[in-house]
Symmetry: C2
Subunit: 773 residues, 2 copies
């Protein structure tokens, strides 16, 4: 094998990285319209503020952080992108180095003079910035090079000064040098030549649009990004992004997307709060770059938990820091939608129950009235799905609406309208605390719900009706497949809501929003309800840090066949539990049989039935040991097959069955089949699951079948709602206390009052309450 | 300044690091008894498996991970510890390097022959391990050196072979070289000289105790740690630690602490599951080191989220990986305690209500009967606290028990005993779903509670009684200050519990356990209730990923004085709300006054009263703008002062007050003072807080004052319990369905049954239910 030195790096790059999708950059020039487009960024400038490069913990340097940034840049480079780094930190880097040298020599002096450890008293001399820069530059570059080498990525050092940008010829030279480096798949690492140039004066204004001067690395990076026609500039420092007010003040909110026109809405803090350069300077540099056609994201590169993927997250379009965009989208942001929903939701909650009921009935009307419109939109979704061809038939079936489906939907809505009469404001408890001091506990809405549903558009009016009935504000996030249908259904919902002035209480979130980003709105959303596959539920439970999630991640349901079971019931119930709808969460996954049933006719009948129904059996270890020729052994007794498969295991007794279920179950729904009432009651009492059934199919674990009306889901949590959840699960309570100048001191040892704590009937009407005392 | 080369590194180290506490290592030789002692480890060997050094993501190398490991080692070294690294990875490192070289030359050949990109078809040749080792060694060492240099830490490369340990003279040479390096504050980086020695045969057994052969880096590290009398060996690879069964199987549990005698209880998986060397070899090496007097922790060094602090966490005694200890503690582990509590708790829940009530009464008895014993233990705690002298007087007061306190405690317990009669098993809803198919929703305990309380030992019997009354298992974690009192009180609780065979349902967790570690038992604990300062609550809410926490982190309560307020009530209520107990969460933090009240006699009276009570006023921005001489402006309208301080702000109307509270409040407790009933009812209706009061002090937001009996805390969550929480908050529900062979299919379109969904009265007795149909 010969290494040919003349071989260009370009060829090598193309051959080695041909497996990766090379992004195509901005097709038509100009900045990207939204974060999702950032995946297309080909040429990217990453600007590392000095805090990112040098601010460490006890050790002074954040080597791990820098290494993971290098890792990300190398990875993006290896995807075929053209990465450039603008780095600060030489000054701080040199400071660290010089300080160590000084300490060393001081300690030597000290050791010679006293032999005592008096380091605390030693004062460090003031270090001159340019000396530090000179001392730091080589070390910083060596570090970058050593790190990039590990990824087989070449780097080149480029030091620039003001003059390089002011002089046209020099600028062109710089430009062609950088172009050539990029062409050769080399990552240029750019810094100001601080050793020969005075250190930047922080915070002086940037000048004009075309003659931005290099006062700090923010403006240098912006200048460079525009000069090099970069698609994206990622500016990392130690701030999260741009806030509407100085961070730490009461109303400060991180801005997700900033538009040039929004500049008036920002209050900048004093410079000291956001470090050298100040946020205002950063924003000006960003806007300058944006105007030059480069998209910009300002983000925090020092946060230990996210630094390892901050750059790749930004390039993947995730909501990190502040994205600068020239194109303002027509609609409100999801934060604004949540705010609108909460405000309108409060009005909704204060309506008379009849009014909420009217809204729901009106929505039911509209479903019939605007049938054509809905079905036309649904046809568009169906056509798209069919032509795309990636939806499985079951999903297509769920996506499609029909006049019959709309009809039964309307009927269901009218039932919810009836149920809604008695939901909000119901008095649960009344207590006369003392003379003229009366306490009530009443039901109130939870607040703002986020419901995430997959390809089933009929979810939308159903969930909306439940939210309206319970006085909750609602954010809806539907599947992309049903986008057109959902839009029409949401318009109708808002039309119904507007009859009582609460149009904005139900919001449809753009399909472009990532579920993960929605889950981060933890101060704005009170409860998340995922409606869909158990995978969806699991994903959301993982993502929703801090927001409660109502749902069940697993449904490992058991049917236990007792020694005293009736043959007919066993066959009926086991068949229904497993085969009625095997993918449902309340389908049986494990069949437990009492030891005495083995080798009886009943046992044979069970096996025959499962065989006829084409249910694949996996044997538990004990069951397998009883058989001469055992079916495949179950990999785990904790499996949710969700298909025509189940595990079979043998137990010694009802008690043994309970122990097995406690050990391997998911506390969803578990069934006993027996004719012995004592055994049954023992099982029902001892078993710690959300639903415990005797002689019925596990498939009854369902809000509608339970008679709760509509269902928002099934919960396996132990807190709040458990099992199938109806309207009740969307309510919480508040305590209302009405007094007459009562104070806690009145009831103290020396006070004049005594607690009565009389329970009052909850049915008593509110009016005239006071007079009755 | 002169650099004196003869200056020893030892002196330099002592002078530079004198600020750090230098750990003293093992005082008496032998391994450490528990994780907490690991902080004392002076000499530490960190072994990095090849997975840690070389397993990366897309780029092949995990540079960021390695850098953060270097960062931690350097930090520990700078604390005055003596760190050694045993590193694998040269082979893999070299593989990576050689592969790149080969690709390069292949692509050159390809370019010469075709000019096409056909990289996919190129097969990589098999690389010889020893060649890889030779190619990798220099790069690996250069990388370590470059990284450690950033922390001003010197490294030295030490390559060893089998012979170095077998030959006594060579072993002594190696020993004295390493000792000298450590003395000079240099981090030795040790690897097997793989280029000259055959690559290790994986999985062959280690031999004997004293002649352990170097087959892999695990045994090398163990050998070295013992030879160098290291205090601690940290072995990092890509497994979490030692499991009792192969990871991934149903019952696999990570072992927190492993004792040599436990070896029989472990089932090892096939070697392929845990990588080269296998877990069995790792354990043998660890036990060998342990026998030689070195403590060992096996942990995962590849987990992206924890690698950045895995080594420092281990040295800080946190529960990471598996800790090998020779000394088996007398009591059960906290995991075993939780398991015991859950099992015993299930029996507790199935007792008759009278039996639970009896247990609580018995505990009340014991508090009086064993008074002397309790007070003696309490005196020990008090004496210790007084002599330590760091507890503030308020804390001391809470710590101390008296006969009177015990008496009222006993009275409270008897009240709980009464309330317990109607808690578990109460029927909340009964529905006749269909003929012979009846559904009940009944109350059941939540499961296992973890209650964390600070210096108040009277919490223990109170919380225990609440848990017993609600049939819950309980883990108690009390403050260190009350350790003696808590122990006695817990013994009495168990004594009472044992009268019905549920002694283990209430467990006292050792004070040594970290709250953070308890919060990680998310599969075993169902609800955490922190009782103590709001700081404690916040800390636990942060730590408890996945387990619900019942509590309130903030109490920013408002009192709004309406234009129509009565003077007397205003003065009484504002004084009580702020001054009765300013540190309480239900104390007023912000006083909102209607604009019309400004400059009225009422306003002057309020100000006078606050002045008399020495309440410091902070002005809100609007309030400040109305005054000529304003008090200091409030830094934030969202402050919980918790002291004789409050914020005052002006609002235009009741509606404005509601908006202010929604914006800045914490939804805890908010009060309106007005004589206008309409205004009051509007306020009570609109305000979205857990407690909304009219003409009474905010201090009534309390379980006892509400008449709930004892209180487990106040919740500001919207899910589950809200406001003051009594027994109800410790209950959840389950659904019991009793049928007669019913299946879902019976109710389908072609089925024979129809849903009835009749609500039945909940009071109807259970017995004879079936016959009545």
């Amino acid at each position: 094998m010969n290494h040919t030195i003349e071989m260009s790096d370009e060829t090598l790059k193309n051959s080695i990285y041909s497996l990766c999708t090379v992004p195509n950059g901005r097709a038509h020039g100009g900045s990207f319209a939204h974060r999702g487009e950032l995946r297309q960024a080909k040429r990217i400038v990453v600007k590392l503020g000095s805090a990112v490069v040098t601010r460490g913990d006890e050790c002074g340097l954040a080597l791990g952080r820098l290494a993971s940034i290098v890792e990300q840049v190398a990875m993006l480079q290896n995807q075929g992108r053209e990465m450039m780094i603008v780095t600060s930190g030489a000054v701080a880097f040199g400071k660290q180095r010089l300080r160590h040298e000084i300490l060393l020599s001081q300690s030597v002096r000290q050791a010679l003079h006293s032999g005592q450890n008096q380091l605390k008293d030693m004062s460090l001399p003031v270090l001159e910035a340019r000396a530090c820069a000179a001392a730091g530059q080589s070390g910083l570059m060596a570090l970058y090079e050593a790190m990039f080498t590990q990824y087989s990525t070449c780097t080149a050092q480029v030091l620039v000064t003001n003059l390089d940008f002011h002089d046209d010829q020099k600028r062109q030279n710089l430009n062609s040098t950088l172009q050539e480096l990029l062409r050769m798949n080399i990552v240029p690492i750019i810094n100001t030549n601080d050793a020969v140039v005075p250190p930047p004066e922080p915070n002086s204004d940037l000048q004009g649009v075309n003659v931005i001067s290099i006062k700090d690395n923010d403006s240098l990076a912006a200048r460079l990004a525009v000069e090099m026609k970069a698609d994206l500039l990622i500016a990392l420092s130690d701030v999260e992004g741009l806030y509407n007010s100085p961070p730490g003040t009461d109303d400060a909110k991180l801005i997700d997307i900033f538009y040039p026109g929004d500049q008036q809405s920002i209050t900048y803090g004093t410079k000291s709060r956001v470090g050298i350069g100040g946020m205002e300077a950063k924003v000006k540099a960003a806007l300058w770059a944006l105007q030059g056609g480069t998209s910009v994201v300002i983000a925090n590169g020092t946060h230990p938990k996210v630094t390892g993927h901050v750059i790749t997250d930004i390039v993947e379009g995730k909501k990190v820091g502040t994205f600068f965009s020239e194109i303002k989208p027509a609609g409100p942001t999801v934060e604004q939608q949540t705010e609108m929903a909460r405000n309108s939701g409060r009005t909704l909650a204060s309506l008379h129950p009849d009014q909420r009921s009217e809204i729901i009935c009106q929505l039911a009307e509209l479903l019939t009235e605007k049938k054509e419109e809905i079905l036309a939109a649904n046809k568009m979704d169906m056509d798209l799905a069919v032509s795309a061809g990636h939806l499985p038939p079951a999903m297509l079936k769920r996506l499609s609406l029909s006049p019959a489906k709309l009809n039964s939907l309307a009927i269901g809505l009218r039932q919810i309208a009836v149920a809604s009469q008695d939901s909000v404001g119901r008095v649960l408890r009344r207590t006369r605390v003392a003379h003229n001091l009366e306490l009530e506990q009443i039901t109130v809405p939870i607040g703002v719900l986020l419901v995430i549903f997959e390809a089933r558009p009929d979810c939308l009016p159903q969930v909306s009706a439940l939210a309206i009935a319970s006085g909750n504000a609602l954010l809806l996030k539907g599947g992309k497949e049903a986008a057109n249908t959902n839009r029409v259904l949401h318009q109708l919902t808002q039309e119904a809501l507007s009859m009582h002035g609460v149009r904005e209480a139900v919001q449809l979130v753009s399909t472009r929003e990532e579920v993960e980003d929605l889950c981060r709105l933890d101060k704005m959303i009170d409860l998340i309800i995922p409606r869909g596959s158990s995978q969806l539920v699991r994903d959301i439970q993982r993502a929703a840090k801090g927001i409660p999630v109502l749902g069940h991640s697993e449904g490992i349901c058991h049917v236990y066949v007792d020694a005293d079971a009736s043959v007919d019931k066993v066959i009926k119930i086991v068949r229904d539990s497993k085969c009625d709808y095997p993918a449902a969460c309340n389908a049986m996954e494990t069949l437990l049989i009492h030891r005495d049933i083995l080798r009886t006719p009943l046992f044979d009948q069970i096996i025959d039935m499962l065989r006829t129904e084409r249910v694949k059996i996996h044997a538990g270890p004990r069951f397998a040991s009883y058989l001469t020729f055992s079916p495949s052994e179950a990999k785990s007794l904790r499996t949710e097959y969700g298909d025509l498969e189940c595990c079979m295991e043998v137990v010694d007794s009802m008690q043994d069955a309970v122990d097995h279920i406690h050990k391997y179950g998911s506390s969803h729904t578990d069934v006993i089949i027996t004719e012995n009432e004592d055994t049954a009651e023992q099982f029902l009492q001892q078993l710690d699951s959300a639903c415990v059934f005797w002689n019925t199919s596990s498939r009854f674990a369902d809000g509608y079948r339970f008679g709760l009306g509509a269902e928002v889901g099934i919960s396996t949590a132990r807190i709040h709602a458990r099992g199938p959840v109806g309207l009740e699960g969307l309510l919480t309570t508040k305590w209302v206390l009405r007094g007459d100048g009562h104070t806690a001191a009145d009831f103290s040892e020396h006070g004049t009052m005594k607690y009565l704590h009389e329970n009052l009937p909850v049915g008593q009407p509110l009016a005239g309450r006071r007079d009755s005392n």
